[in-house]
């Protein structure tokens, strides 16, 4: 069972009815003894406005997965694989690092990691915002379908592979094969790009791009200057099959 301890008020059960909106002290869950499954069940039963603090995460896997209410969850420490996966509406902050598959298939809401994230961060994300203050590993934003991702540091190779929609902002450098086989996602990189993947090219940074970049940076709490970035996107040569391009596949 989850160890639930809330200051002042009595500890609510995992499936407790809604608390008052806002202002309530967060429900604290210590994972030193509690399994991730009970925590996740409690978060699935949570309602809009609740806030939760998770202590002693110890790198456990699948923490805060499947949230679908407007709750605020803070994880104090490092999370393991698939943290905040399949996320909707809520706001998850990890004060530490996250393992493989952070916010995988995020639909909406916000996930913020103050440290580094391992490979495949925000993979296949449909919406919402994923902010990584540190570095992200390989395959960041792979097959992204509408999610916005802001990375304060560098990203690894094969990031935004087959990215279909959404925006990926990188304040550091990008690894090799960035945006390989990209569709309509937009990529902004401030530093260097080790290499561009097939059909990914640099594109002009127009007013509307500067504006959306400024918005994304602000949403991520960053002060970088949008004019320092370069934009990358699809050359649109590959996503309709043409026999002359067959050697490029």
């Amino acid at each position: 069972m989850v160890t639930l301890t809330a200051p002042e008020t009595a500890a609510p059960e995992a499936a407790a009815p809604a608390e008052s909106d806002g202002g309530a002290a967060p429900t604290v869950v210590d994972l030193a003894d509690a399994p991730a499954r009970s925590l996740n069940q409690a978060l699935h039963d949570a309602v809009d406005g609740q806030s939760w603090t998770i202590t002693s995460p110890g790198g456990k896997h699948s923490l805060a997965v499947g949230i679908s209410a407007r709750v605020a969850v803070t994880i104090e420490g490092h999370a393991g694989y698939y943290a905040a996966g399949m996320h909707q509406k809520g706001d998850v902050t990890i004060n530490g690092n996250a393992g493989v598959g952070l916010a995988e298939n995020i639909m909406s809401g916000r996930v913020h990691v103050t440290g580094d994230a391992s490979q495949s961060a925000a993979a296949t994300g449909h919406g919402g915002l994923v902010v990584i203050d540190g570095n992200a590993g390989a395959r960041c934003g792979i097959s992204m379908k509408g999610v916005d991702i802001v990375v304060g540091g560098n990203i690894g190779h094969m990031s935004a592979f087959m990215a279909q929609a959404g925006r990926l902002v990188v304040c550091g450098d990008a690894g090799g094969a960035l945006g390989d086989s990209i569709y309509e996602a937009r990529i902004y990189v401030k530093g260097t790009v080790a290499s561009l993947g097939a059909d990914c090219i640099e594109k002009p940074l127009r007013e509307e791009h500067l504006a959306e970049l400024a918005e994304l940076l602000e949403a991520a709490g960053r002060t970088d200057n949008p004019a320092d970035f370069k934009r990358y996107g699809s050359a649109r040569n590959l996503y309709h099959f043409h026999v002359d391009n067959s050697s490029a596949y």
């Binding site: 790198g59 393991g80 690092n97 590993g137 390989a138």
Partner: protein, 302 residues
Amino acid sequence: MCGIAALQLRNPSLHPQMGSLLSSMLCQIVDRGPDSAGLAVYNTPGLVSPGTSTLSLLGADQGIPTAALTAGVAALLASDAEAAVKVVGDTTLVSAAVGTDLLVKAVTETVPGATIIGRGEHVAVMKSVGHPMEVAADHGLEAMAGSQGLSHTRMATESAVTAGGSHPFSVADDLCLVHNGSFSNHATVRRGLLREGVVFDSENDTEVGARYVASRLKQGDTLEEALVNLGKVLDGFYTLVVTTADSMAVVRDPIACKPAIIAETDDYVAMASEYRALAALPGIDNARIFEPEPGKVYTWSL
């Protein structure tokens, strides 16, 4: 999927805790490979001693009584070699104050079917099939002191679930290698090594990697050079940890599908497949924690 946990202790005051720390790390990687496991421990009192070669033999039962094994080996060596045999868990340790090559000769003559899974002055290697924590408990890992430790939990893919196919592979003095992943061209590389006269113990792909590293080191490569060369010759998915008498190396293939995370403090360098295996280490909150970059060789020396 396999699990790796490795620990190099820089601060000698932590040496008495080597086994308990490694055991706590191993506990968190069991899920990654529950079929068999292996351990390598360095400079563990009671298992190895300075100035003495120790061979680790697979299995507690070598087919002859321990006294007969001791007498057989002693009879083939000089009288002052002080041959000794010790059974630890599922492993037989044979030691004597002679070079390892000579000791190998004496042991294989006494027990022609013996499988040597570890050799050197500093290392003892133990492996077995079964639940990794039971393998560790059978060998008494918890109470072992030492300077370095390496553990592996195996989910077999390229060859059978046998103790001989468990990692680490230790094929040269004090050299151990563990692998998460699979080599795709191991048969080709194996044929090349066979032509050089290298002898193999198993059909395992990782043994090819270990024999390749040993072959490069013999030809004068540093550990780092040997692993850079491995990246040019062996194809496949891998996170490797290699240990020698006084150093530890980590390398991931350039695609880097197989995980690895490293924690470094003034007191130790620890590597594991997943962060949760590092979470209980002392001072982890202030450790430098990072994932090794693809295709880059990292080495640390004591």
